[in-house]
């Protein structure tokens, strides 16, 4: 298939090229996001349609429109006096020069010459650009109006932090689940998922009320489900591997600082936390503070520490929140971090379900607390590996939801997530950030993300922040805001050679599950077969 669309009539490398449509190519069939190839004199270019517009040869025509109810007149004028134009941004050279023949698609450094022919990209062209599914590439979806597979290079993907964005209900969770499945399937990284709404580990329902299976059901041997809320897990008949309990002694003043907004603490209260921690010791301070009773002794202590009474009450009220979280206990029976690391070390992916505790304070506290220590361990292991020239720890991807709460400009410098997002791959830990309000995320963190996958966004600020730093931003803006609200996403960044709009791969049918699982994994055969029914 090589459907001729038109010819290049003007343009620039920065702004993309204008293509005049042939009269035989109906403008209403064009869609932003579609791929085209441009046959230059020496090179073949690959690009995407980013805008479609109407043109007339003479402005008078718009003032005295011809009688197009007459099919003859309409046919004559179409493509001559009135014509469609496409705006195409070429992004790759896929043939013609030596480098692109030897090393595959190369980034463009020039534009096609005048009147080069523009064709719709063929299946082969798209395959050439996105590769085929193999041991490190994962099929994520198909380009618009095509059957070809768009594959993500997962090995490249996990080396940097990535983001999945989109308005609520546009399929972020499905996309994230697909990515996680990809990583599990290809074994490119182990995952730690902070699963706020308990939808990655065990089955949940999609918007139509259909049950969809999740990771533990698809890869029982590779996934462990940890839970903070045993009861909820039991009710949903999830087979959990570990019940998480965290001790007060594990909470550090930094954790409170991070929760300042969520717990409605004043700046002074946060300062007081550090003083109390110095007074009582890092391990004991929460218990001790919560144990303080009204009275002279307390007053003396506060005076000594120079903490104002109202500050103390404010802090106290905030800390009381912890008492309402049953998974927080004065001292934990088991070391959760150690357990998680054990699993991760074995290559088992860990999903931490929050059950009923979808309260954002709990989520931030737990995610930050665990991640900080896991990251510290990883850092240690990594440094050791470098020093002793041994095998470094497995690549770890930490998935967080509601990321703008961790990574907003105010706290991103304090949380471990901000550090991970910035440090990137040095310590083999990266993030998969899922968020619906990307504008809330620190610009510096956003700019460090390797690959961004975004579903429909319509808030101007969100769109701007996702596309910050992208060349031809305004063009992608129009693509992004025209995405369908379901099953469509724009992928750009490190793991794809060119930005691409995909119709996401099907997820939820028995067939789709079968495709996810590699052949040799079906050893449990019958059981899984039954699951699919």
């Amino acid at each position: 298939m090589s459907e001729r669309l038109g010819i290049v009539v003007s343009g620039s490398l920065n702004k993309g090229v204008e293509v005049k449509l042939d009269s035989s190519a109906p403008i209403e069939d064009m869609a932003v996001g579609r791929f085209v190839t441009i046959e230059g004199q020496k090179r073949r270019f690959f690009g995407m349609i980013t805008d479609v517009s109407l043109g007339v040869i003479d402005q008078k025509l718009t003032l005295t429109p011809p009688d197009v109810s007459d099919p003859f007149i309409a046919e004559v004028l179409a493509g001559t006096s009135t014509f469609g134009t496409l705006h195409v941004s070429p992004s790759l050279v896929i043939g013609g020069d030596v480098a692109s023949l030897l090393e595959g698609p190369q980034p463009v450094k020039t534009v096609p010459s005048h009147f080069s022919v523009v064709n719709l990209a063929s299946q082969r062209d798209v395959e050439l650009v996105f590769g085929t599914e193999d041991e490190k590439r994962f099929f994520i979806g198909t380009p618009l109006d095509m059957e070809t597979k768009v594959c993500l290079d997962l090995e490249e993907l996990v080396k940097r932090s990535n983001g999945v964005f989109g308005k609520s209900g546009t399929g972020k969770t499905f996309l994230a689940r697909l990515l996680l499945i990809g990583m599990l399937q290809k074994g490119t990284a182990v995952n730690l998922v902070f699963d706020m709404h308990s939808e990655y580990g065990w089955e949940s329902r999609d918007e139509r009320g259909r049950k969809v299976k999740a990771l533990k059901q698809l890869f029982p041997s590779k996934v462990a489900v940890f839970t903070l809320d045993e009861e909820s897990s039991r009710r949903r008949r999830v087979s959990t591997d570990f019940v998480v309990r965290l001790g007060y002694d594990e909470i550090e003043p930094e954790d409170i600082a991070l929760l300042r907004q969520t717990l409605n603490l004043t700046e002074a209260s946060v300062q007081a936390v550090y003083q109390l921690a110095r007074e009582f010791g890092d391990k004991r301070w929460i218990e001790a503070t919560l144990g303080l009773e009204e009275g002279e002794e307390t007053r003396q202590l506060l005076t000594k520490l120079n903490i104002h009474d109202s500050t103390y009450h404010n802090l106290r009220r905030g800390l009381e929140t912890f008492r309402r979280l049953p998974f927080l206990v004065p001292s934990a029976p088991d070391n959760t971090v150690k357990r998680i690391l054990e699993y991760l070390d074995r290559g088992t992916n860990v999903i931490l379900e929050f059950g009923r505790y979808t309260d954002i304070a709990a989520y931030i506290l737990v995610a930050n607390l665990l991640t900080r220590r896991i990251h510290a361990q990883y850092r240690e292991a990594m440094e050791k590996a470098i020093g002793e020239d041994t095998i470094p720890p497995r690549q770890l991807v930490i998935t967080i939801e509601e990321a703008h709460r961790f990574l907003n400009p105010e706290v991103s410098s304090q949380t471990i997530f901000g550090t991970i997002a910035r440090e990137m791959r040095k310590y083999n830990v990266t993030l998969l950030v899922i968020d619906q309000r990307p504008s809330g995320i620190d610009g510096e963190v956003m700019s460090q993300m390797g690959t961004k996958i975004t579903c429909l966004l319509d808030n101007e600020r969100d769109v701007d922040s996702v596309l910050a730093g992208v060349i031809n931003k305004s063009e992608f803006k129009s693509v992004l805001s025209k995405l369908e609200s379901k099953q469509q996403a724009l992928i750009f960044g490190h793991a794809v050679p060119v930005p691409v709009v995909v119709r996401t791969r099907e997820y939820g049918s028995a067939e789709s599950y079968r495709d996810f699982i590699p052949r040799d994994e079906t050893e449990a055969g019958k059981d899984i077969e039954e699951l699919w029914e």
Binding site: I57, D70, V76, L77, S81
Partner: protein, 197 residues
């Protein structure tokens, strides 16, 4: 190829056009039809761009004769000399030529010779000629007593009849005109209005 119909003889010629007199009174080829001369080595193609029937002698005007006759035919029957005293002529705009069996859509090096026979082109030849619309440019850019749009429309209508799918031919020609006349939409509209089926 079918026997070509001879329609007249060149009596006046210039680089851009020629005038031919018809052998029979009123046997004028239709406006816009494609005619050719067969002077060797160059055959000239022309498009009939105007026609006239006049008295043989310039200073002598015909007079009305039908007062006592019942039909027009009666006039000619009762005065048979009329057919010899009047003559029909047509002018043709040169739009191309053929040399060594190759067709060129531009002016020939020399004008037609006087007394060259003029033939009406058969459909096959019209089709061959109509493969290129370059002649439209020649038509549009000449100043004639006949309005340009009338002539262009007439020639396209005539040519289209040689095709199995006249509409496709007219659409293609229309598109060419739309480009040629991009600065003159009124003329374009006038022509399109005259060639639509």
């Amino acid at each position: 190829m079918a026997e070509m119909q001879r329609v007249g003889e060149v009596i006046e010629a210039s680089t851009t056009d020629f005038v031919a007199q018809c052998y029979e009174l009123y046997q004028i080829p239709p406006l816009g039809s494609l005619v050719k001369t067969k002077d060797l080595p160059v055959e000239l193609y022309g498009i009939v761009c105007n026609a006239a029937t006049t008295s043989l002698e310039p200073g002598r005007r015909p007079i009305a004769r039908g007062k006592d006759e019942t039909t027009e035919e009666e006039i000619y029957r009762s005065s048979p000399q009329l057919l010899k005293l009047l003559r029909s002529e047509f002018g043709a705009l040169v739009v191309g030529h053929k040399k060594d069996a190759k067709l060129y859509h531009y002016l020939p090096p020399q004008p037609a010779r006087i007394h060259s026979f003029v033939y009406l082109c058969p459909p096959e030849e019209v089709k061959e000629f109509g493969q290129s619309f370059d002649f439209l440019n020649l038509l549009i850019n000449t100043h004639l007593p006949v309005p340009t749009e009338e002539l262009v429309a007439a020639s396209l209508r005539q040519m289209s009849q040689a095709y199995e799918d006249p509409r496709a031919f007219l659409v293609a020609a229309g598109k060419e005109l739309a480009i040629l006349l991009s600065g003159n939409l009124n003329q374009l509209k006038a022509i399109l209005g005259r060639i639509k089926l």
